[in-house]
Symmetry: C2
């Protein structure tokens, strides 16, 4: 057994096992042991837990606003409620850990998305074992299956209550109303409606008691429960197995959700748990094989990476091109199931290189939400597409003006995430181009990417201010990635990302002008783009402020005036807190007037645009900013890990990778900040884990050469490093549709091109140029 | 007797009399009963009061920083300390108001600046009356004289202690150190040094006991006291008179302050109180005659106006061209004895029209402080002259980054008065031109004004941002006059004042180009002004954002987004306070996210530039903004009063004039805000009182006609209104050095040109053009 954290261990690297169940950690463990499939997320709970135990089945595409403030995803009624009653006494929710006869062992199999628990308990002097297995189907996304095995050490009659628990763990208001119940052949269903968005949502639940003979069934329709009660006789030490199926459907995806939810569970019953689990294993297997991530020599590191890959994947609504990846995925309602810049910069890259069709879906989501982004820009007096800081289905801004509160006074704080944090737009443009770099899919650029990027360029031009004295375009009143410093000017990250976006807009315009003139004409008419605007972008790309490192120190100032702020450390600020729940940032938090930053900001730019600054400058700035970084955002450690790995600080980088990959397992990050619940799975950190391996340790980046005409010649390049603790590490990459496996050993880099490839792969590895024909393996010395 | 407020009354309108002395109001009464002369201010205290009773002699030109944060004027040791001891028992500081034998009656004669008090007390079974008279000389500014008359109702021996109380009421740190004492022929002197600025300050004190025969004198040199003790025999009901002289001198004004302070009191003794008081009356008389303000029919209103004229005058360091008018004058150390925009907009206009040589001195102060303003601009990355928000002697910014605190948490608040409140620069430019309008003194413009205004135009151009999309210059991140809304864009007041400044810069440049080419060449070389810059000003003047009223509602939005803020009233916000001492504004005060404003902002613009908008627009906006105004600044009521008077809302305007003129007598305004002491005389409101009469009721404004060449033809215009309670009001004006008396009666306006005039005065009165030759009186019907 390998210890991962003091709460979790692994046996093979393919599963996580909870160590010593603790009642007071059921919020994070419910997230860590989450099962899901991108359509829904079902929290890692025991079968008889309820809203008070943070039960949750978060369903994508169900945005609703119940409190007048937060629009969020619906937590569906729990159709897998299951409880055991012996002689009128129900099974307690938690084991009595002081008793020798009671325990709860839980684990999550990452290779199949299977939640397993073994609950030992004593009721009425009988010792029981209840084993639960549960998975969310990858085949039929609206379906979750559970299998229960019950053993008692004496002959005993028990009652089983199973069905639908209607009470949800709602973060911000009750979303469902007008409940209707249906009962047909032991199949229980409900239909309810969301209060604001009028979505009809149906849950069906069916308990299949395979081997009981003389069952007696009663319907229980209480306040929050809609259950059937079964009589069941157990023989001593003879296990009884039961299966339970739950389907959750809604009218945004189905015309007749009630009927469909019934059908889904009926079909599941016909196939049965066993067969469907075989499918499940196969489906997950395909995904794991696409990733092909292997760590030789550290089962722990392998498990951590797998855990993060798993959670990134089940957070992603891959089934749709119109839905975002939530910042907490589908692990709870926090962050509204909505996309932030995390989606493009943190979650998406793994798909670019392994499942590009998912990457395309995610980017199409940004295309489909252009109207929302245009509306936001217009509402704030700008042009083009100002993407929402918190983006739900329509892309309209979901971030309210007031969300944090000053915990010392109870006063609401007006934070400006929704109007000043503009870097989300250029970050999306960056990733549209990144998609092209990885896939070479010019059609996507012409069909979707061009409109996105042109509208972003248009926005940036309207958002910029020209300083006539300095003859520069400035970006005034920003939040950069470091959210503790709102209201800053010329955040370096935002400036260079904006320049990148403008450059790519001009490049795409040039390509379309020559090779797709008709498409360009149509697009220009559609979005009323004038030639003068393109000239403006060119002027802005040339004259946008481009902060340079200080020639002596090599330091780059994160934003205007940053170096004038009080120079202190997170540790010192910690001592200034009057309340541990205080928000550190704007407008009057302990960090706001100091150089302490929440997260990687300039260092994040090094990650995205490694070619901008010299190695020396990047080293100097890493040394400067690191001790001033609180890592108050889960996005921060991975950014530092990547830059450390690239700079050859390999052991530090591995430590930080472990930190980043353990954020949820360690439960270190704040669950509440400024009065707002922000718990759940940190999906951005999950997505970043893969990038630490590829962009960090392997040093993956792109070289764009424009000397041969208007299409840049794009070449993937590597500069691999490997931590001492690893024998090797390995991952797959799809580069312009050609499959490549990279294996980095201590002294050797082994590159294998798939025999199914139809083109040679051209790479730069360290200083060497390498061409690999289909089916060929190349080794080079490190 | 006419009641002014519930604390003060008047007999003739020329004095204020304290009603029922109350110990807990000695901070405001010490200010209200202040005597002074622009060099020093001596608070209205009793002769035996000390620092604990807020004794104070604030001395101009003595800036010193003792606490590392606030640079402020020095409160000099009290050289008029005087106490009576009977049989070892000293006179109590306050009367025992429960006793019939004790009382304290105090008054201030505004016509001579004389503090008078009559203290009745009983000591050792003897009833005493002590009458004090005290004035600060207008002839010898460093001198204060006191006269005491003592009567006892039995024969009694008493002791008198008189001399210097060294302990000062210091707001922010102890400024004086290295005390040296000198004693020569009953003349006591001290010499001390300021801790930061190393100014040597001397106080001399002399008690002249005229009619005592066998005195015994002892020196008391205790911790904080440096006194002489005299034995004195009183005969029953035989008054004894004593005189005391105090001089305060310092090394910023004197080469040998110690010797000079001694000389001053010696000379004072030779002349004696009586003769010097005759001089004093004559000197003050000249000033009152220049103003010539009379209110017929309301002794109360006359007294209030006189009180404000008096305080504005004694706050003004008219003796120097290198010193500012403090926002609290010399009434205490609050606001650092430093100039704000109040100086030009509120305090100065009365001088423009009555004592223009003082107006010139005040404007020269802005000329001499150009280096400080240039430094501020440069420090913040701008060009030209960015005048300090809090301007002391050098003009460098005295406003610290952190001064308010959040009283709920004790945390410091970073307010941006020092870097975002830019309107002070254009307000100074405005007043430079106003000086020219009133005096026609082109030499001043060429010698001083041009450099001030050019540097301000230069600053504005560097501070502006050009919005290329909208093709406008914008002013981003401002505080307007309404200080509750920091961090706003395009505050309308600031935009139009900036446009005014640019227009005048261009006008002056044109005049100099044609008529003073050599002077222009010298100036351009001195300040390195390029032709291109002048072209830039022209472009900016043309393209600066000029917000227009909504065509339907007539409303003008105070700044971008103001109308989107929560629409509520000051009364509602009052209820949201958790602590009465909370600061209402930035960043998280109760008003910041609402439409409630601290003070007149747009309405203030109507006052300064009445020609900008139509009468309808001004009426609509007055109706809109008034109920949303807290009047949390003493600058606010006068601005509304002027606009109400101009709009013919005459009775409302009179009410508001009374409110504005009673701010100090009523003691309504906060003495502490956000933890900072801001008590003392509100000199801006004092200066504004005269303007309510002239610019408000009489409707004084200027018509500039440029059709006859490059010098605008400037004509004063009136549109008088009169409140029902007044029979008439009257004031003097000096217009281009020609003296005019205006008397407005209910039906008639009477204008008299002085026979000493050498030119005809041309006016526009209501719709009529009037020319008045020297010595001629013209009457017209209203």
């Amino acid at each position: 057994m390998h210890e991962l954290t003091n709460r979790y261990s692994t046996k093979t690297g393919q599963e996580i096992i909870e160590v010593d169940f603790t009642e007071d950690l059921i919020i994070p463990s419910g997230s860590n042991l989450l099962i899901g499939n991108g359509y829904l997320g079902y929290r890692g709970i025991e079968a008889n837990w309820e809203a008070t135990e943070f039960s949750g089945c978060i369903v994508s595409d169900t945005y609703d606003k119940a409190d007048g403030k937060w629009r969020e995803l619906v937590n569906a009624p729990n159709g897998l409620y299951f409880n055991i009653i012996v002689d009128g006494q129900p099974l307690a929710k938690f084991p009595d850990v002081t008793s020798e006869n009671e325990s709860l062992r839980r684990s999550l199999d990452l290779r199949s998305g299977l939640y397993n628990s073994i609950r030992k308990f004593n009721l009425n002097d009988t010792n029981f074992i209840l084993e639960t297995n549960r998975f969310a189907s990858l085949e039929q996304l609206e379906l979750i299956l559970a299998n229960y095995k019950i053993i008692a050490d004496t002959d005993v009659r028990i009652k089983i209550q199973a069905g639908i628990d209607k009470k949800c763990w709602d973060l911000n208001g009750k979303h469902l109303e007008d409940f209707k119940e249906f009962n047909q052949d032991k199949l229980l269903s409900i239909l309810a409606t969301t209060v604001e968005s009028n979505i009809n949502l149906s849950v069906s639940s069916l308990l299949n008691i395979a081997n009981n003979s003389k069952e007696k069934i009663e319907l229980i329709n209480e306040d929050n429960k809609y259950l059937l009660e079964f009589d069941l006789s157990l023989e001593a030490n003879q296990p009884v197995e039961l299966e339970q199926y739950m389907a959750v459907t809604h009218s945004n995806q189905r015309n007749n959700p009630l009927q469909d939810s019934k059908e889904i569970v009926k079909e599941a019953k016909e196939s049965g748990f066993k067969l469907l689990f075989e499918n499940q294993l196969e489906n997950w297997n395909k995904i794991w094989n696409k990733w092909g991530v292997k760590i030789g020599g550290s089962v722990k590191d392998q498990a951590l990476i797998n855990f993060n890959l798993y959670h990134n994947r089940i957070a992603t609504p891959a089934y749709s091109e119109r839905l975002p990846i939530g910042a907490r995925g589908l692990s709870c309602q926090a962050y509204q199931g909505a996309a932030f810049w995390d989606q493009e910069i943190f979650n998406l890259p793994v798909y670019l290189y392994t499942e590009p069709e998912i990457a395309k879906n995610i980017l199409k989501y940004r295309y489909h939400t252009l109207p929302g982004a245009r509306k936001k820009a217009e509402d704030l007096g700008y042009k083009g597409a100002f993407y929402a800081w918190i983006s739900g289905k329509t892309g309209e801004e979901l971030c309210p003006d007031f969300f944090f509160e000053d915990v010392l006074t109870g006063r609401k704080i007006r934070n400006h995430f929704n109007d000043w944090q503009i870097h989300v737009s250029p970050d999306i443009a960056y990733t549209v181009w990144h998609y092209y770099q990885a896939t070479g899919d010019i059609d996507f650029i012409i069909d979707y990417g061009s409109e996105i990027i042109f509208e972003i360029a248009r926005f940036l031009y309207s958002r910029a201010h020209f300083n006539k004295n300095k003859k520069e375009f400035e970006l005034i009143r920003l939040l950069g990635p470091d959210e503790y410093h709102e209201n800053v000017d010329n955040n370096v990250f935002t400036l260079y990302q904006s320049k990148y976006a403008l450059d790519k807009a001009l490049k795409i315009y040039k390509i379309m002008e020559r090779d797709y003139p008709d498409r360009l004409a149509v697009l220009k008419e559609k979005i009323e783009l004038k030639d003068e605007e393109v000239a403006n972008w060119k002027e802005m790309a040339a004259l946008i402020k481009k902060p340079e490192p200080d020639p002596e120190t090599g330091l780059i100032e994160q934003h205007d005036g940053y170096f004038q702020l009080e120079d202190t450390t997170p540790e010192v600020l910690e001592e200034r807190l009057q309340d541990p729940g205080e928000y550190w940032g704007w407008p009057n938090g302990v960090a706001h007037h100091t150089q302490v930053i929440k997260q990687a900001d300039l260092i994040q730019l090094f990650w995205l645009q490694p070619e901008l600054f010299s190695d020396r400058v990047k080293e100097k700035n890493l040394d400067y900013y690191l001790p001033r970084t609180e890592h108050g955002s889960s996005l921060s450690p991975s950014a530092y890990a990547i830059e450390e790995a690239r700079q050859g600080r390999t052991e530090k980088a591995r430590e930080r990778l472990i930190h980043s990959a353990s954020i949820d397992l360690e439960n270190t990050n704040k669950a509440v900040s400024g009065g707002t619940f922000i718990g759940g799975i940190h999906t951005a950190a999950c997505g970043a884990t893969w990038q630490v391996l590829t962009f960090g340790f392997a040093g993956l980046h792109f070289i764009e050469d424009e000397k041969n005409g208007i299409y840049p010649e794009i070449k993937a390049a590597f500069k691999p490093e490997i931590p001492a603790a690893w024998d090797y590490y390995q991952f797959n990459l799809k580069l312009s549709n050609q499959d490549l496996t990279i294996r980095v050993e201590t002294d050797t880099i082994i590159m294998t091109a798939s025999e199914n490839n139809n083109e040679e792969i051209n790479l730069k590895v360290s200083e060497e140029f390498v061409n690999i024909a289909p089916g060929i393996t190349r080794k080079i010395r490190r």
